[in-house]
Each structure stands twice: as structure tokens, then as C-alpha cells.
């Protein structure tokens, strides 16, 4: 069964450093998303991506965040200068029509 793959599974980074979280969505899907889940809190929407551009972003997704789909298969989330409060589980999701499929997540810890 096709699945969404995320790497790495865990990432520890120092405050102020840049991180790139990587995702390989399901190949024929059209819509791509990043969500995050701070420990003990609900899953929050960050950004959606369609037709090679951002279609919607949340208030969380400020200038420190960016997304790319550089080669038609990978979908990346970059955080330019990480803050302690960026520590969370980051989920990538992709969708063809109504059902979003989620990856296993990347646990980002900023120290």
C-alpha cells in the first residue's frame, strides 16, 4: 500500500539553526500539507501546497517557514532559524481527493 514517508524520524537542533524536514508524498496525490503537534496538544495546520504553490497557510507559518517541492516527488519544510517553541512533531500529509494520508512524523527538538 502506498504511504507517505518522512525523514528523519527524530531531529535535534540548536536554537537559531536551520532545519529541513523531508517528505515523500504518495506519487499520484495532488495536495500536500504540513501539520504540527506540540507535545500534549492538538494537531495544528501549518500550510497547504497545490500546483507548485502555497494555497493556504496558518498564522503559525511565518517568515521563518518555507516549503518546496523541488523535484516533483519530495516535499520539504524548512525552518530558517529555529526557536525553542518550534519543538514539536511535524506531520506531512498528501491527498488525492477527500482522504489525507499522513506520514509517521518527524520529532523536532530544539535545544
Amino acid at each position: 500500500e502506498p504511504e507517505v514517508t518522512q525523514t528523519p524520524s527524530h531531529q535535534v537542533t540548536q536554537m537559531g539553526q536551520e532545519v529541513i524536514l523531508r517528505c515523500v508524498p504518495i506519487s499520484n496525490h495532488l495536495y500536500f500539507y504540513w501539520y504540527r503537534q506540540i507535545l500534549g496538544q492538538k494537531v495544528e495546520f501549518l500550510v497547504s501546497f497545490y500546483n507548485n504553490e502555497i494555497s493556504e497557510k496558518s498564522e503559525i507559518f511565518d517568515d521563518q517557514f518555507s516549503v518546496e517541492r523541488p523535484d516533483g516527488s519530495n516535499f520539504t519544510l524548512k525552518i530558517r532559524s529555529t526557536k525553542l517553541e518550534d519543538s514539536a512533531m511535524y506531520f506531512c500529509a498528501s491527498k488525492l481527493n477527500t482522504e489525507a494520508f499522513f506520514g509517521q512524523g518527524t520529532r523536532l527538538t530544539v535545544v
Binding site: L30, K42, V43, F45, S48, T98, A100, F102
Partner: protein, 115 residues
């Protein structure tokens, strides 16, 4: 704007007992409704979804949910739970009008099965 309320943050249930996890939503437009399950240290897996039609939807692992438009609810039920059902359960809503609509999640309900 849409929102989802899951009133029960934790639900302990004895093995083989029935369970109901409550979900209420708020939306000014029609909605799609979903239940996702998150097993420990794993991602989110779709249990079931309501798009249209029959208000009773059946999902994987013996779960079902009923859409009640007048009460704006989408409660999840299982007649007999198993130890393996221990997980976090998230109710989510999206709008059907645009293909790229995001999911809005509730705060989750942690289901603990007591042997």
C-alpha cells in the same frame, strides 16, 4: 471558521466493554468529518470518514460513527474494545468546497483499555 470539540480528554474502558468517544463540530457550511487514530509513536491513520449519504459510517477495526447534523455531532463507537485499541483518537473536519481544504482537528481523546 470551523472548530472541533472533543470533550473527553481521557477515556478508560474495560476490555470487551463498549465505548463512545464524543465529537462536536462547528461550521457555517457543509462539512466532511473524519476520525483518525494515533497509536503510540506513530502517525495518524484514518479510521473512518463521513462525506455524504448515510449518516452511519463504518470504519476499520470495528469502529463506527454517526453524523448528526441537528446536534452537530460525529461520535465514534465500538461495541467491544480490545487492548490494541489503546491510542489517541482525533476527530477532524474539513470543507467539501475546495480540493485543497485543510483538516481542523479536535484536541484528541486518549482511550485506555483496562484488562
Amino acid at each position: 471558521a470551523q472548530s472541533v470539540t472533543q470533550l473527553d480528554s481521557q477515556v478508560p474502558v474495560f476490555e470487551e466493554a463498549p465505548v463512545e468517544l464524543r465529537c462536536n463540530y462547528s461550521s457555517s457550511v457543509s462539512v466532511y468529518l473524519f476520525w483518525y487514530v494515533q497509536y503510540p509513536n506513530q502517525g495518524l491513520q484514518l479510521l473512518l470518514k463521513y462525506l455524504s449519504g448515510s449518516t452511519l459510517v463504518k470504519g476499520i477495526n470495528g469502529f463506527e460513527a454517526e453524523f448528526n447534523k441537528s446536534q452537530t455531532s460525529f461520535h465514534l463507537r465500538k461495541p467491544s474494545v480490545h487492548i490494541s485499541d489503546t491510542a489517541e483518537y482525533f476527530c477532524a473536519v474539513s470543507s467539501p468546497f475546495f480540493g485543497n481544504e485543510k483538516l481542523t482537528f479536535g484536541t484528541g481523546t486518549r482511550l485506555t483499555i483496562i484488562p
